[in-house]
């Protein structure tokens, strides 16, 4: 195998976004925290923190932007849904996609480029009410590609559900396409459901709306595809493939009686195959992983 090339210091700023979704269907308010990025001191000027912009995608459109000027003395910026929705009309249906970016000037590139090329993370916050219970999950910023970019298809593997009369399980697909064409089928996911014993239980095709959050009810989907409820107690694996646009996928478990939530991000292939960006691995890996079944 050829050695991986040593990473060069980026000359530009690699665009990334932090993606979350509203959870209105579950009666929750969402929020986020992202790190405050402060420009290195240059002479006697005051510390300058990069403004943070939230793009609110509603009905697939970048419908609203909300900017926050962070306090450079604070390590993190925290924003809640009620802040970016102030003055906005309520949505008709579905969930909004929230995409967060750092606004920067060309002179920020030398220090911001390496920072954005490295791992940068935010917290997806969920609460029942401002003074009520809250929870969160830490997850990475994802690359934001220009219109026309050809994405590698998504491979999602979700097997950590909890089935039973007290709980319901959801997959939350957050899909960012940006301003590109939306007639290329890149929002389609093919899902094969397997039992823990390795038997295929059902298949489903999902059209995840572009530039939206999409809450997929696992038990309802399985029932719709003929999987009896009794089969769930043994465990179910959801193997998702397709969806050649930018996705973030979360798993939620909800207590039906109280509405309390458990939330975790998914594990993309690079968690399991650490060198997947290496060209000698990537090509053969995806050829075999995306082969017809």
């Amino acid at each position: 195998m050829r050695p991986i090339r040593k990473r060069a210091t980026p000359v530009g700023v690699f665009p990334k976004r932090f993606l979350i979704s509203t959870l209105r269907q579950l009666g929750q308010e969402v929020g986020l925290t992202v790190p405050t990025l402060v420009a290195p001191a240059n002479g006697g000027g005051a510390a300058r923190a990069l403004p943070v912009r939230m793009h609110v995608y509603r009905g697939g459109r970048d419908a609203h932007q909300f900017d926050v000027a962070p306090d450079p003395r604070q390590a993190f910026v925290e924003v809640w849904q009620r802040q970016w929705e102030a003055g906005l009309a309520p949505p008709n249906a579905g969930e909004d996609l929230i995409a967060v970016e750092y606004l920067h000037a060309p002179e920020d590139a030398p220090w911001l480029g390496p920072r954005m090329a490295d791992e940068i993370e935010g917290q997806f916050l969920v609460r029942a009410a401002p003074e009520g219970r809250y929870g969160c999950v830490l997850t990475s910023f994802v690359p934001f590609r220009p219109a026309g970019y050809k994405f590698t298809p998504v491979i999602g593997l979700t097997h950590y559900h909890k089935f039973g009369p007290e709980f319901e399980n959801y997959a939350l697909f957050v899909n960012l396409k940006g301003a590109g064409a939306t007639d290329d089928g890149a929002n389609r996911l093919h899902v094969d459901y397997y039992s823990f014993a390795g038997a295929r239980l059902a298949t489903a095709d999902l059209d995840v709306p572009y530039n939206s959050g999409y809450l997929h009810a696992v038990e309802a989907s399985l029932a719709e595809h003929g999987v009896p409820a009794a089969a769930l107690s043994g465990g179910v694996i959801a193997h998702c493939r397709g969806g050649a646009s930018q996705f973030s996928i979360f798993t939620l478990i909800r207590n039906k009686r109280t509405g309390a939530l458990g939330l975790e991000h998914s594990l993309p292939p690079y968690y399991y195959v650490t060198g997947i960006s290496h060209p000698d691995i990537r090509g053969p890996f995806y050829a075999r992983a995306l082969a017809p079944t």
Partner: protein
Amino acid sequence: MTAATDVRARLGKAWIKAGREIERLTYRAKIARPKLLGPAIRGPLVQLYRADADFTTEVAFVNYLTFYLLDADIGITVTVTAYDRNGKRLGSGRHRVGRKQALQRPLAELVDAPLDSHGLFTVEAAYDAAAIDGIAFLGQTAPQFMTLFVPKADGATAPQILHSHKGFQRSGVPFSPCRWESPVTERLAAVEAYSVFVMNACRSKLGGRVELVDVARPDAAWRTDYHAPAWGVARIDLRPAALGLPLDQPFRFACDFDRRTPHRKPILFRRFADGSITGNHS
């Protein structure tokens, strides 16, 4: 920090860096010679368990190789090992996960031993020897798993899911102080009680301080010392109402460590007035 302490910390960090380089070279050798040296599989990976009045712990693992290499027929044998809060090994179990299979079972069953109220557990993987040639091109792989903290029946809580990709270290870590700060603002008025679990995934004793810091006035904080034995866990329970802090102000958790153990994000559980609990590593 005194000059002597500073030198000690620098030496400690250099030692850690050298150890990482040795580990990297070991993995590279395995990637180059998987038949001779075995496949380059990261591990053991580590996570917290709870087996107390609030939660039991389930471990979920999937045969990722056969969901990625669809034509492959390779089994993964998973070894799960649990330790008590003081780092004493309690038990271990091996489980084969076949093609396109998964397992999700209580940790106590997987390690075939009664658990402590909390502690560490590890997961490591081995692949069927006959199939190693076919997957060697993948280079280094990692046996990722999910941990579910499952509430007791009829409770108000939903299962809390946590992932960890952190390694369990069989050797010690020298003095190398560091600090972690949570990005999450804590609303003390909403929380009845916190349980903070500081994990020590190495063979040295770990000490330090957990703090609850006023976001607006960082000098105003509540602090407590902790000590975690090698491969052990320190648990800090606190009730915000009893701390004498202004409950209407935003706070954040922070934690000081006297050495750079592999897992430096304490696991935080919050109990609310309705009885529900949320947990996360932040």
